[in-house]
Amino acid sequence: MLSYEKVFDSLGLREWCNESKANTLTSLSELRGDKIEWWQVPFPSLDNLHKACSSIPQTRDLTASLEAGFLAVRPSLRFILDPLTQPLSWALDYTLLFFTTMPWWALVPLILFGTQYVTKSFRITFLVALCFIFFLFTDHYTYAIQTLSIIFVCTILCTLIGIPIGILMSKKDSAQRIITPVLDMLQTLPTFVYLIPLIFLFKITEAKLYGLAIMFYSIVPVIRLTNLGIRLVDKNLIEAADAYGMSPRQKLINVEIPLALPNIMAGVNQTIMMSLAMVVIASLVSAPGLGTLVLDGINNLRLGVGFVAGFGIVVLAVILDRISKTALARIDESREI
């Protein structure tokens, strides 16, 4: 493979090239000294240039230096992020502990009461009751409760963090310009890719590792829809609020948030569904719950275990979606704008 050597020779860089010793593997065709036809000339990639001139780095050096760079900043990143994210670990650990130690005969009725309270629909409460009987009967109850606890914590935190970010975006176009690409990235990044830097940063046994992965993934819709909802508030109403001298704060609390509420709630619904999707993948990094059973099914080829757990996740998805959508519909109904 001598195609690019002549280039370096003609540029008078041979000496510089030979400073570092070439340690490239030689291919069979090179040993044979096969002549390269013009149509076989390879693209001058890092690896090909390296063969001609060993001072030029290889592609694997690039990935290796990225890794080295990340490892170099890791201690300082940890120093900042660890205390910042520690409350997330506590929230997840204690919520999991609380709900899994609570006896089933107390928790299930509590969930049913809660459902009835937010949906005001006996049909949905009945559906939820059936689903929990299924979980209890098939001994998947604890796993389901673990999954629900994680979703519960992550959704609350996403809402608390996401709504203010969404409000900021709706108020400042510059914030929207900066945040929108970040949200786009969070949404398009393959879910496994989230896990890579997090595994480096935190110990795999820490709850915040999967907590952060879930939140990064599922916070996007609540931010987007809060922003959208506030931007869509009728301009005539904003004008009326201004004409009566409302301060920006009064306007936000009395006009914008109440009117954007249906959109914000739609965002919360999406956030719940996305946390459920991510909590399964997060079982790769020790998130407890139904996902671990699915993982077990994949790893050990236990078809039945994987199927039942997968069905359990679908059941959870259906009831979470029904509950949040019905609650949303109730808000819309009381308005009928």
Binding site: L237, S247, E336, I337
Partner: protein, 348 residues
């Protein structure tokens, strides 16, 4: 109906408004008197208001009338600075509100001005009563006394019993009465009404106008009323300003504008009007008591139509005109009929 010598509450002086990329750069052209179409062709800027100078009198209804695109809604939003002018002054009791900072401006809007909107702009998530209490709540007043006040105004606009309803449950006319009650509950001395009755159907509009005039008789607020409807303008106005393409074509007493239109544009406007109903005897009578009259006396503020009815259509009669028991002039039926067709009629 109109005290002649009223003091100026708000004076708009040399007001220009240009929409576009760089409005300030356009100003020199405007001072040279460039017109709207020319400006739009040459520089992509839209001239909304062109050298506006108007007086708004204390305790009177000033109607700003113009067709759509004439800049009337833009103009009224300058008075509470919902829209910032490109240049010019807005003097309120002599103070230029253009110098107000954000909190002074908010104080002004909270305490001294209220506004009624064409599309009602009621908060859909609040009840009628909560909507009505908007101004006192924004000001942070005691809710109980504010509620009492709000209920009083709701009763006044015939909405008793609908306090707990939501706006979407009410008809358009009722919604606008909520809008009116909201403005009145603010107790502001100045009311801005942006095409307040334009979205209502004709019968309801008429009854709203009557209600509005009734309220004004007791309240004597300073009102700026925007409309595109000349009939409405003539019915409500104490002082009429006619806008066209962003400049003031004519302003003055409505009867005067009707009898002496200064511009072909206004002439055209006025030609569709039922003059008999709008013109008052006061505007066409002859002053003094020099003439002999054939019949009794009539009130100066009745319309020509009413006088024709009194005279039973007889063209030979003449009447004494009195105002508050005093004779102020005479009118003959011939003058009445002339006034119905001529613009150059003798004015009081």
């Amino acid at each position: 109906m109109k005290p002649k010598s009223s003091k100026v509450k708000i004076a708009v002086r040399d007001l220009f408004k240009v929409f576009g990329e760089d409005p300030v750069s356009i100003l020199p052209l405007l001072y040279d008197g460039i017109d709207k179409a020319e400006l739009q062709k040459n520089s992509d800027h839209i001239l909304a208001l062109n050298n506006i100078n108007i007086d708004i009198f204390d305790g009177l209804i000033t109607v700003i009338m113009g067709l759509s695109g004439s800049g009337k809604s833009t103009l009224v939003r300058h008075i509470n600075r919902l829209i910032e002018p490109t240049s010019g002054k807005i003097l309120m009791d002599g103070n230029d509100i253009m110098n107000y900072d954000e909190s002074e401006l908010r104080q002004l809007r909270q305490n001294r001005m209220s506004m009624v909107f064409q599309k009602f702009a009621l908060m859909p998530h609040q009840t009628v009563l909560e909507n009505t209490l908007m101004a006192p709540i924004v000001r942070g007043e005691n809710i109980e006394s504010a509620t009492e006040n709000g209920l009083r105004w709701l009763k006044r606009v015939d909405l008793e019993g609908s306090e707990q309803a939501y706006p979407h449950q009410l008809s358009g006319g009722m919604q606008q009465r909520v809008g009116l009650a909201r403005a009145l509950t603010s107790n502001a001395e100045i009311m801005l009404m942006d095409e307040a009755f334009s979205a209502l159907d004709p019968l309801i509009r008429t009854s709203m106008q009557d209600l509005f005039l009734q309220l004004q008789q007791d309240l004597h607020k300073t009102i700026i009323f925007i409309t595109h409807d000349l009939d409405e303008a003539l019915k409500l106005a104490d002082h009429l300003v006619i806008l066209k393409d962003g400049f003031v074509v004519q302003q003055g007493e409505p009867q005067h504008i009707l009898l002496k239109p200064s511009d072909p544009y206004i002439e055209e406007f006025v030609s569709d009007i039922n003059r008999a109903r709008v013109l008052k005897i006061r505007s066409v009578m002859e002053e003094g008591s020099g003439r002999k009259v054939s019949h009794g006396s009539v009130n100066a503020d009745i319309s020509l139509e009413a006088l024709i009815a009194i005279a039973e259509g007889d063209t030979n009669r003449s009447y004494d005109v009195e105002d508050g028991g005093k004779s102020i002039g005479t009118i003959s039926m011939q003058e009445v009929f002339q006034a119905l067709v001529r613009y150059d009629i003798h004015l009081k």
